[in-house]
Each structure stands twice: as structure tokens, then as C-alpha cells.
Symmetry: C2
Subunit: 281 residues, 2 copies
């Protein structure tokens, strides 16, 4: 673990106090440590204990000074039940610790942070919600896909796939979104991508509409696979089952070809490098 | 202006190079300097010139070391035409400067950053897109509104109001979104809120559905006004015309009453405080 003094905020910035006995629900962003917010970095530096999801990148966990507790597993594997996580946050806060609940992306966009905040409020524990760069927004930016564009896309909808902390929309809702939303962003999209694409085509979306799958977004391990709605299922089948996968659907995906060659995407690095394999215990 | 040495990244973090002659399109987040990303802070520190929108909070501009150029005005007032901004980015980059294009929220969610990136690519100028905490996501978090909730809301759609860098959805698209999206987030929502609410009610949304208007989100000046779809127009009329206004529509707005009393929202401060009035020139 880094020494406390090695990671500190610039001297001009005065963060709000992280009081013992309180909980910060913090979004860690999509993966690149450079997409951490200053609040998140501060919380990592001063928290006594960090309860994190499996989706938080090891480069980010390496910045923590407190005890790390992994309460999540990747898609398809076992997770700690939500009620047990809620109870654990309460118990640790009542031990007068500074408790950091760290989630990939933003804590309230399919992060189930709302449920945790409600549990803390019901228990009379003070908490702070620190928004983060949502994985879908970070993935699109790094893949060279503008989620909105003045002439191509006015509206963008975020929906969950399986295991994203929500239930995928039913047929009626999805058909309405297929007609109303210019761009769809699907979180944890791998397992159901083929079926989802079929339903969108059935609702009137063009089979030729471009789509992009982004895995391990904004990290050096990022991969982007493009396809069409018609070939989305086939493309998804080639993605490893444990890779957190964002899917962007819409005409804006085609802009990627115009931007890619000129876009810089190198993430922020740690010096010395994080010992990735040793983390998470 | 702050001296260069006063704002620096922690020594363990090695940011990617910001080369002279390149442009970084950076989201500044919703307002709280604590919601800047580490990439954004780095860019503010090393950029030679910063072209910013009027929506970027003065506390954030105070962290810049380079020359500030204001290329935006608040809703309803004059803006620099987009083509002129694109050309200016290209001209400054060709002068071998480090050019920071700083936008409120995220650069690709109603920020027109996509158009700027396309112009830079067409001119053969290297650029980086740094996503940020989108204003809608930050506003909801700070207002105590989980945008998604496992039982209340599975999908959230982002749409522009007037002056948000996009065209509001037409009647057919909005009617589909009214049926398909559990939560709607409207950017720059003040001027059209009443008419929008009427159209959503006409499409079948309950007039009693709760809504929240958030202005100057995540700053010490933040105000949240709650209403229902039926009273949204009346509530919007009381909001100052130049206040950037986010509108959240959906059942999750009601959760705010359960969270508010226990939620901490104090933003990060600067020491010494930014001389707010002297900025932007």
C-alpha cells in the first residue's frame, strides 16, 4: 500500500471533512485513475476501510491507504447480497471508522448506491454521495463516440443488462425506447446483446444501425468491437464472459471512424506501477 | 492566477503528456471543484490557453494557469458560433500551444464536443477527450435523487432543453420516451419545462409524478425546487432566466425526502478563496 503522504491533494484545495462514523458512497469512474474525481482521491487517501466492487480497476485500488474489502464479483459469479453490504456499511460506521464505499462508474447509475444511501439514512448515519464518470459516458468518449451530436443524436438512454444492478426493460418499454431514444447505452450488455438487438430490430430499428462493444473501458486493456444490430449477438459471443461490457447503439457510433486516428487515449499511470495481482484482499 | 506550483498532481500519478499543438476537450463536471477529474486538474495546470464555456464554475477557472478565453454566454444570451470556436481551437493548436477546451459537465453529452473533435480530426490535430461528471448525474446525486433504483427506475434518458447544444425531441419521440423511460433528465430545462411537462402528461405520464429542478448544481449556490409534472411550469417560472437548470422527472425524485437529512453535500473549497468576480476575462 502507498504511504499516506504519497497521495495527497494539491495544497490549494480544501476538501470537506471525512468524519469518522460517516460513509462516502463514491463513484470511481470507468477505470483510468485519471478519471477519478478529486473527492474520490481524497476519500481513498483518508478512508479507514474501502468496500469496493470487483469492477473498480486495480490501478485505483492501489491508491487506497485503508483496508480493502472486496464485496463484489464479476458478472455471472457470486456477489455479496445487497442487504449484507448495507449492514456491513452500518456496522463499520458504528465502529467510528471512515467508511468508503467505492463503485465503478457512478454510484447512482445502476450502482445500487441509492439502496445503500436509503439504508444509511434509515440507520441515522451521515453519508456523502460523490458522483463519478459513469462507465457508459467514459467508454463512449474513449472509443471516439460522441453520445450526442447536434444533427445525429439528441437523446441518449441508459439501460441495464443482466447483473448491472437493475432489470432489463420489458418488451413494451424497450419498443418505446427503440422509437424515442436516438442512442442507447447498455450496461453489462454481453450476455443479452443478441436478444436485445433482435427486440430493437423488431421495434423498427434498422438492422444496419452501427453498435460498439467496449470492454475494460479507459484502461490499457480496453477493447472496442464494432458491429451492426444484425451482427451484435455474434460479436458479443466472442467477448470473454467475465469482461464488463458496455454497448452503445446508434448512428453516432459511425463517427468513431472519423475520430480514431487523431484521438489520444493513454490513461494516467502510477509510479511505481501498482502491483495489480496483489490487490483486492 | 494561481502559481503553477500551487496546483499539482500527487507525485505517484503520472499523467499522459499534454503536448504543445494538441487540444484536450475536457469535461469540468457540474461545478464543485471536487468533481474535477485528475486529468482535468492536470490539464488546467499545464494548458497554455483555456477556452471555456460560461457554465464552468469560477472556482474551477481559478485553478487555471494559462490564459482564459470565455467562448460562451449563459442561456438566452449571445454565444460564439460553433464554427468560430472550432476554428479558434485549430488556430491556437497550430501556434503550438497546449489548448484546453473546458466544458461544463461532460464534453460529449450536449456539450457539442463531438463537433469540435470532428473539426480537429479533419484539420489533422491530435486531441484527447476527457469525460467528466455529467451535470445531470451530479445534480441528481447532490439533490439526493438516485437516477436508477432496482425497484423504481431501470432506465434513464438524457434530453436537451433549449440552448443545451441540441434540439429538444419532437412530439413523437417525446411520447415514446414518456412511455419507455422511467426517469427523464432534461438539460437547460427552465424555458420549456411547462410545455414539456404538458406533453409528457398528454403521452400518459401521471400529472402527480414528482419532478425536481436543480440550479447551479453541486456549488454552494445550488438550489433544488421540487414540484409535480402538473406544477412544473409554474415552478420553472420562478427560476432566474440565467440559471443553468437541470430537471429530473420520475418516481425516484420522491426518495430525496428520505435521504436529505443525512446527506452531506459541502463542496471542495479553494484556499485562498477564488476571486470569483475577477474571472472570465
Amino acid at each position: 500500500m502507498a504511504a499516506v503522504s504519497a497521495v495527497a491533494l494539491p495544497p490549494r484545495l480544501a476538501p470537506p471533512p471525512f468524519d469518522p462514523g460517516s460513509v462516502w458512497l463514491v463513484g470511481a469512474g470507468p477505470g483510468d485513475p485519471g478519471l477519478l474525481t478529486l473527492h474520490a482521491l481524497h476519500a481513498l487517501t483518508v478512508a479507514d476501510v474501502v468496500l469496493h466492487d470487483a469492477l473498480v480497476a486495480p490501478e485505483i485500488l492501489a491508491l487506497a491507504n485503508g483496508r480493502l474489502i472486496d464485496v463484489g464479483k464479476r458478472a455471472g459469479k457470486h456477489r455479496s447480497p445487497q442487504l449484507r453490504i448495507n449492514q456491513r456499511l452500518i456496522t463499520l460506521a458504528r465502529q467510528n471508522l471512515r467508511v468508503l464505499r467505492l463503485k465503478g462508474g457512478d454510484p447512482l447509475v445502476f450502482g445500487r448506491g441509492g439502496e445503500e444511501a436509503l439504508a444509511l439514512a434509515a440507520a441515522g448515519i451521515r453519508f456523502r454521495i460523490v458522483p463519478g464518470v459513469s462507465a457508459g459516458i467514459g467508454a463512449a468518449a474513449t472509443a471516439g463516440i460522441p453520445l450526442t451530436h447536434r444533427t445525429l443524436a439528441q437523446s441518449v438512454v441508459f439501460i441495464p443488462g443482466l447483473g448491472a444492478g437493475g432489470t432489463p426493460p420489458d418488451d413494451a418499454a424497450l419498443a418505446a425506447l427503440a422509437r424515442g431514444a436516438d442512442v442507447l447505452v447498455v450496461y453489462m450488455a454481453r450476455a443479452q446483446a443478441g436478444r436485445l438487438a433482435e427486440r430493437l430490430i423488431a421495434a423498427g430499428r434498422s438492422p444496419e444501425q452501427p453498435v460498439a462493444f467496449a470492454t475494460d473501458t479507459t484502461t490499457p486493456r480496453q477493447q472496442v468491437r464494432t458491429a451492426t444490430l444484425a451482427t451484435a449477438g455474434e460479436t458479443a459471443a466472442a467477448i470473454p464472459a467475465d469482461a464488463p461490457t458496455l454497448l452503445v447503439i446508434g448512428p453516432v457510433v459511425a463517427l468513431r471512424d472519423l475520430l480514431g486516428a487523431w484521438q489520444l487515449i493513454e490513461p494516467m499511470r502510477l509510479t511505481p506501477p501498482a502491483r495489480v495481482a496483489g490487490l483486492g484482499t
